[in-house]
Symmetry: C2
Subunit: 340 residues, 2 copies
């Protein structure tokens, strides 16, 4: 039931070379034979074997994406952006859930190597020496998504998290808040969590507000549970906060839920701004004001860069995507009219 190029050739009374050329739109055949061959292909329902093609062309039209365990929407949006442009150029994506584990990551890299993927996208993970040199030895392009590396010359696409943190905090300040808390992810996560915190501090300083360590809390991760923990300690340590910048939407929702527990109304008693603008931001109560990362576009961009590098064999410049505040109902203005 499965036909090969030979079957087509035999049935059309030509050589397999001719069939191949027709398939690949090279020249060396008449209109007539082309039509004939095409008809036979149609009749047989023949589809070329991508494996055989891959073997000889050294190109598999497949890219690998390494995804650590991210919260649902986040990963899906990035992935669907990647998948979309990958599909447009006629390739496919192999997903690998690394769960932040180094061993798993290396195992996946090996599989991707054996499968001879044309490129690799690393999502949101630190590029270790081990990973880098392995991919380097595969000599295929890679790009980092929601991450970056200063050690290695690997192009990345992300938003400027420091700037994002700054914008979020400034937004709160512009709304009249001066007593602003911070809930962020891990203090070890220099790439993201710490960056956002830096932006927070910078905004305070630029507006002559003292940075108070008591108002800042770091957690294990960016998750809801962390938000709960974080907000609890914040409520103890700094009960007179009027606003908090949560470095992820999940953190923000966690914070809001403990605010309720402490009988504080959001946003009347305490304002909360999130980060990521995931789908759940609009579904929360109150709807969450959040710093939006264009995740879908970022995924798409990363894929584009990958294919660009395949073409050009050169390193594509990195890309900082714009962020944006999506105003909803979780921030209360302490002024009659906003500044600016």
């Amino acid at each position: 039931m499965k036909h090969t190029i030979k079957d087509v050739a035999k049935r059309a009374n030509v050589s397999i070379a001719t069939v191949s050329r027709i398939l690949n739109e090279k020249d060396g055949y008449s209109e007539d034979t082309k039509e004939m061959v095409l008809r036979v292909i149609e009749e047989l329902g023949y589809h070329p074997n991508a494996i055989a093609r891959g073997l000889i062309n050294n190109k598999t039209h497949t890219v690998g994406v390494l995804v650590p365990s991210l919260t649902g929407t986040f990963a899906t949006e990035l992935l669907s952006g990647i998948e979309q442009v990958t599909h447009e150029v006629g390739s496919n994506v192999i997903v690998c859930y690394t769960e932040f584990q180094g061993v798993k990551t290396m195992k996946y890299l090996q599989m991707l190597n054996e499968k001879r993927v044309d490129g690799i996208i690393f999502i949101s993970a630190e590029l270790t020496e081990e990973y880098y040199s392995y991919v380097e030895s595969m000599s295929i392009p890679m790009v980092l998504l929601c991450s970056e590396s200063d050690k290695y010359q690997v192009p990345y696409v992300r938003v400027n998290d420091r700037a994002g943190g700054y914008t979020a905090t400034k937004y709160l300040i512009d709304n009249g808040h001066r007593n602003i808390g911070l809930i962020s992810g891990s203090e070890d996560d220099v790439l993201t969590s710490v960056q956002r915190a830096e932006g927070y501090k910078a905004a305070l300083i630029d507006h002559n507000i003292a940075v108070n360590e008591n108002n800042m809390v770091f957690n294990d991760d960016f998750l809801f549970e962390d938000g709960i923990q974080g907000m609890k300690t914040l409520m103890e340590r700094a009960p007179d906060l009027t606003a908090v910048f949560a470095a992820s939407d999940e953190l923000a929702l966690g914070a809001i839920s403990v605010a309720y527990q402490y009988n504080k109304r959001v946003p009347e008693d305490i304002s909360v701004i999130g980060y990521d603008n995931l789908r759940l931001a609009e579904m929360s109560h109150p709807p969450l004001t959040s710093v939006s990362q264009p995740l879908n576009d970022m995924g798409a961009k990363a894929a584009q860069m990958l294919f660009e590098m395949q073409e050009s064999k050169m390193i594509t410049p990195s890309c900082i995507m714009p962020h944006q505040i999506i105003e909803r109902k979780s921030v209360h203005s302490l002024k009659d009219f906003k500044k600016k």
Copy 2:
């Protein structure tokens, strides 16, 4: 920099056949040569070319997963279940976001065909004649996930949505509610939306509550926006409801948000139960009581079945996964003590 089996053979002073046999753990070589070859492999950093292997073995260790555009968490959980067991058996998954489009789906099927994947998982989509016969002609196993087909003998894994709807509704009844609304997805979605509604009706009838069409609303989809729409019309048509069964968590959150708009407290004035038990259920305010589908397990099961079928060449029995109510805070009991 990229070595082949020939390089290994040459360097170890054996034939490629021997290397191959060692790699595949067949016999026909001495302990000594094995050690030698293994050492050379290590030295060269050789990894077998899966493409070449695929060509001759007619097995690619790759499965395709067709995902319609599902809300983030839903898709991610299924996918990660699938990916996990796929990885365990040494295969990879190619994801295809079909966005519910027939043309795109067919295009993907062709790509998967050309890439000679070993199996296909269809998520949550109706299996049309076209899809079915195409995959049939590829003669590889397929399984349906969160879906089923009565036309074709294709194994599936899903929960019994009718039963799920029944359980949810019964839960409300057991909590003393008799005036219960329904917000579901599309009326055309016979596989899921309608099933849950049927379960709802059955539970009412079994408890001697009249089914009232006014208390039921169908929407375009299972999304937040649909929940808002649905709840609005429900509030108009049936203002004296004390509880509503929303056929998805997003619908439930939409419903809750309009409840707030109408100044109804949840759950004191109106109880809401959701379906899916996505991550956002625990993060909502109030935390959402929901019918849980073991999505991760379902994905894993589907993948297991796929590999089982590859082995056995037979059709594996379908699998109905258990559902379960996860009690949180969005349902209020109207009785002093619960029945049962």
